[in-house]
Symmetry: C2
Subunit: 531 residues, 2 copies
Amino acid sequence: MRRWNGWGDERTEVHLPDAGAAFLAARLGPGQPLADASLAEVLAQVPPSRLPEHPLITRDAETRVRHARGQSLPDWLAMRSGAFGVFPDAVGLPETPAQIRALLDWARQQDAVVIPYGGGTSVAGHINPAASPRPVLTLSLARMNQLLDLDEESRIATFGPGANGPQVEAQLRARGYTLGHFPQSWELSTLGGWVASRSSGQQSLRYGRIEQLFAGGTLETFAGSLQLPTFPASAAGPDLRELVLGSEGRFGVISEVRVRVSPLAEQERFYAVFLPDWPRALAGVRALAQARIPLSMLRLSNTIETETQLALAGHPRQIALLERYLALRGAGAGKCLLTFGVTGERRQNALSLRQTRRLLKRFGAVFTGTLLGRKWAEGRFRFPYLRHGLWSAGYAVDTLETATDWGNVDALAQAVEDSLRHGLADQGERVHVFTHLSHVYGQGSSLYTTYLFRPGPDYATALARWRVLKHAASQAIARHSGTISHQHGVGRDHAPYLEHEKGPLGLAALRSLARHFDPDQRLAPGVLLED
Amino acid sequence: MRRWNGWGDERTEVHLPDAGAAFLAARLGPGQPLADASLAEVLAQVPPSRLPEHPLITRDAETRVRHARGQSLPDWLAMRSGAFGVFPDAVGLPETPAQIRALLDWARQQDAVVIPYGGGTSVAGHINPAASPRPVLTLSLARMNQLLDLDEESRIATFGPGANGPQVEAQLRARGYTLGHFPQSWELSTLGGWVASRSSGQQSLRYGRIEQLFAGGTLETFAGSLQLPTFPASAAGPDLRELVLGSEGRFGVISEVRVRVSPLAEQERFYAVFLPDWPRALAGVRALAQARIPLSMLRLSNTIETETQLALAGHPRQIALLERYLALRGAGAGKCLLTFGVTGERRQNALSLRQTRRLLKRFGAVFTGTLLGRKWAEGRFRFPYLRHGLWSAGYAVDTLETATDWGNVDALAQAVEDSLRHGLADQGERVHVFTHLSHVYGQGSSLYTTYLFRPGPDYATALARWRVLKHAASQAIARHSGTISHQHGVGRDHAPYLEHEKGPLGLAALRSLARHFDPDQRLAPGVLLED
C-alpha cells in the first residue's frame, strides 16, 4: 500500500548504510531523529466536510488525509509531525471527461475551490489546500488511467490524464511502444501532472521534455472545453498547447492527453565515466551536449555529489578499489562522475559511443564500462525512498533545480550551493550540499542541487530552517539569471519568485488568461500566480 | 534594386523554358498574359499622408508604395494591375528599441494604426493596410539588422529583428556559425518576421523550426516591454515565448531576437532518389522520418510535381535519358522524386546515408547520387522568381501549405488537390495542381501544394478565380483536420479559418491577450484575429 506520510510503497525500504551515516555525521554532526505522528492521530484532526454528498466524491477522512499534501519537504514535515493544517473537504473521483465537467459545475454550485490532483508528487505545494471560507474539492484523476487509443501510423497515444508512469509504460509496452518519459517521480506521478507542470524525464535528451511529447488533448475549464487538435507542427498563431503546459491547474483540468510515442528501442546501454575535476567535467559535458551526438541521457555529478554518492553506496571496500584505480588514471580527489546512455539502433549506438569516448578523452575522462551505468539505471527511481533512511537517521533532505545558459552554469551552481551551504551558519549548523547536471541542451543545462541538514530539536525548527534555506537558494537563482524551475514547476513555493523571470507584463498576461478560463478564480488558487 | 511589384532583385530573371510552356499549354490551354501597370501610374494614385512629419518616419510616396503589399497572389495582382487600394500613410524606420517605443507612443498620440513590417514577404496578407479612419503607420525594422552579440559558450546570437536571411548568415558565418534557417523567402524575409509568423526552414529537420531556434528577446507593446530571458528549458509556468511566436504583430513589435546558433557543419550533401509510386514513396518517407536517422532535410514530390519539375527544368534530352534509366530500374510513370540531405560530422553523415539507402531500398527506391540534390540546393531560393516567368507566359501561380498526422496525410493531400483541380470547372477552366512534403516529423508531415491557372481576360477575373480556389482549399484543409498553416502564418487570408482549429474558447483567449497587450487594438488590426 502507498505510504500516507512519505514516498511510495510501504514494502520498499531504503536504509542509510553505516558508512553513509558516518559520512554525514562527520559533515553535519550526529543525526536528530524526530518522532512521527500516527495516522490515527491525524485522522482525529480531520474536521467534518463542508461539502454535501455527491455520487462522484468521497468525504472519507483517510482519503482526505491522503490527498492533502504533496512531497515537498514542508509537506513531509507536516505529514511526519501530523500538523497538516488544512484538509480538502472531499475528493472527487471522475472516470470520464463528462464527469469532470459535471464536478466542475457542481463545484460552482457549491461555491467550492477545485484542486486538480494527479499523483500527489508535487514538491512545490501544487496540491495543498489553503485555509479558505470556500470548501475545497480535490479532483483526483486516478481513475482515468487508460490507454484510450493508439494510432500506430502517426505514433500518437491517447490516455486518460491520471495514468501514472508504470500505467503509461505497461499499456504502451504491450503494444511495442514507449513514451520514454522517466522523471524521478515516475512510479507515482501522472501524465496529466507532467503536462500541467512541464515535467522533464531522465532520457529527455532522446525523447524530449513533456513539451515535445504532448501533442494535444482536452482541458476542461469553467469557460468551456478547450480542444487541442494534434498537428506535427503549425504556424497558425500562438500554440495553445503551450498555455496548457505549465498551467498547473489554474486554467482548467486536463481530461485527455495525446502523446507522441516511440517503438521500443533495439538497444539501450548506460555508461559511467570519471572526469578529473569540475572545470574539465563541465567543459567536456558542454562539448558533448553541443556535438549533436544522439545520446539518450547525460548526468554529471559535481565533486561533492560524486564523493557523497560513493560514500552512500555502502560498499566501502569495492569503492576504495575503484578510487585507487581512478586515481592512478588521473581522476583523484576532485573527480566527477558522468553517466550517459545510448538508446536506439545498434550501429548508431556504437558510433555514438565511439564519438563520445573520443570527445571525452580530450578532457581526461576515465571510462569504467557499463557496471556503474547499470547501477544507475536500476536505482533511478530509488532516491525518493532514501529520504526515509535519512530521516530515520536524523537528517532532513531536500532538492531544488534550475537551468541556465552554459556561460552561466558554473556561476549559478556556485551561487546556489553557497547560499545553502552557509544558510544556517548563524544557527551554527552546517548544510551538506551537492549538485548534478541532469538535463543538458546545446544552449545550457539544468542544475539539480541536493541539500541535507539537521532538523533541529523539533518540527518547528526544521520548517524554519527549510524556509531560510529555500528562500536563500531561490533568491540566488533569481539574482543569477536561473529559472525558478527546470522540471518541478512553480506551485506555491516558487510563485513569489516568478515575476523576476516573467516580468510584470508577462505575469499580468498569465493572470488575464486565468481570469479568462476561470472567472471566479476557483481553480488551484495561489498556485503559479500568488493572486 | 528590389522589384516594387514582384519578387527579389530586378537583375535576377527566371524564364519559363519552351518545354515548360508547352507542358502547361497542354494542361491549361494557351497562356493569357495581362498588361502591367507602371510605377508612375501607381505613384499618381498615392493620396497625401494623414500623418504629420516626424524625424523617424518617411511620407515619401514610393516608400509607401513599396510597403503597401506583401507577396500573396492577391498582392501580386494588385501590384501588377496597379489597383493597390490602400497605402500606409507613412513608413517608420526605427534604428533602436527605444525608437520603436517612441514611435509607438507617437502613434498613440496620432491615433494611428501600426503595422510591423519585416521583409514584406508575407503570402497571407499580414502587412496590407486596410481602409480605416485612423491613419496607418507601417513600422519597417529594416534598419535594425545587426548581430549585436554572440555568446559562443552558450551559442546564442542576439540580432536586431530586421536582419534578413543573407544578413543573418553573413554575420554569423564570419564567426564560424550558422542559424540554419532557410525558408524559401530567405533572401528577403527577416528574423523578426520568422518569429512573428512561426516560420520553418528547409533544413528544420536538423536545426529546428523557428520555435526551436528562438531563445528569447524583447517585444515592445502598448502595455510596456515584454522581456523574454533565455533559458535552455524551464518549468516556470506557460512559456511566454510561445505567445510571441505566431503573434503576427498583434501583441507588439519584436525589437530584439536571441537565437540558438550552430557551428558551420563539417560536411553537407544532398541526394536525389526516385520512388516508383506515391503509395510507396509516402510509406518510405514516413519510415525514414520515424527512424530517427539524423538527416538535415527531406522533400518528397508527388507524381505530378515530379513530372512538372522535370518538364520545367528545360533540358528535355537529358531528362529523357534519366527517365529511361529510371524506368528500367522500376521507377516509371508514377515515380516520385525524394531529395534528402545530410549535414554534420563526416562519419555520422556516412552512417546516416547508408541507413537511409538501406531503408528506402525496401520501398523500391532508385538512387541517383548527388547531381539532382546539388541542383536542388543551388536553386532552393529561385522558385519565387519563376512566378515572373510564368506570369509573362500568361499563367498565375500560387502555393498553400498545411500539416497533419501521418494517418491523414494522403487523404488531406487528395482533398486539397481535388478542391483546387476542380475549383474552376464551372468556368470551364482547368487548374494544374501538385504537392510535395516539405517538412516531415515523427508524427506527420507538412503538405505544400502549388496550383497554376489562367488569370482570364482581366485582373478582376484573376482575383475572383483565386478567391474561389483559396476558399475551396482552405475549407478542404479545415474539413480534413489539417492546420490552416504549417509555415506561412495566418495573416488576413487564413483568419476566417482559424476558429476551426483553435476553437471558440481558444480564439477568445488570444483575443483577450491582444486586448491585454494592445488595449486600443492599434496593432495590425484584422491580422491573425478577424476582430
